[in-house]
Amino acid sequence: MRKPEFLYVIYIETTPDTLWRALTDPAFTRRYWMNCELISDWKVGSPMTMTRDGEVKNECVIRESDPPRRLAYDWVSVHDPEMKREKPSRVTYTLEPQGKLVRLTVTHENFTDGSKTLPSVSFGWPMVLSSLKSVLETGKPLDLTPPLIAETEAEHGRA
């Protein structure tokens, strides 16, 4: 068993139910995930697509779905031909209430050796998760303006 390549922990002042909705409602994900809509019925085995401006960026398959506690999906970045050929990586969210906060743990693992997806997502995750926290706590996302997103994509690929 390989160790996970990435682990992120963020504390958010919200409830598990609200956080679950933020992770699974496309109108909500658009607000913090660089305009991406995550579309699925969120049942185990179902597909999930991440689209921006109608273009599919990542194709996923739901592997675990236990609202509002645990969500996992396999992830393939299809917006880049090299990344598209890599085997799926696995994203897992764990939501644990702690008083007025929810401790959100995100792991991203099972990358191919020399994966091009890995540096791309490792740059994107902190932005996405910080913006998620900001939306839930203040009602406003971080100012990840289109020029910044374009710059990020040019430098690092995209999460």
Binding site: M1, K3, P126, S130, K133
Partner: protein, 104 residues
């Protein structure tokens, strides 16, 4: 946020973060290798880093793995760096690197 700055205000703890930045997901034993610090001292520093959420841990089989958790550092960047002309800071950083390289 106070906890984050207190945790960062120590060279040993920054060195531990550098080691995790170089290689993420290490055990206590791996982190202690080649360091001039007792295992107890490393344990104590890691606890402070974990309390500040700069280090996150998971159980992996029988091992406890330590990860650099970038979320708080990203929040510092968002709050104090992004709004102050990141492009110009990048340009100045680049100039500094080039000048130092030339002098070397």
């Amino acid at each position: 946020m106070d906890e984050v700055f207190k945790a960062l205000a120590d060279a040993s703890r920054r060195a531990l973060l550098d080691r995790l930045h170089a290689r993420n997901g290490q055990t206590l034993g791996e982190l202690c290798e080649g360091l001039d610090m007792s295992r107890q001292a490393v344990t104590k520093h890691l606890a402070i880093l974990e309390a500040a959420n700069l280090v996150a841990t998971i159980r992996h089989g029988r091992e406890k793995l330590h990860y650099l958790n970038p979320a708080p550092i990203h929040q510092i960047g968002e709050r104090w760096i992004r709004k102050f002309e990141r492009g110009r800071l990048d340009a100045l950083g680049d100039l500094k690197r080039r000048l130092e390289k030339r002098d070397a």
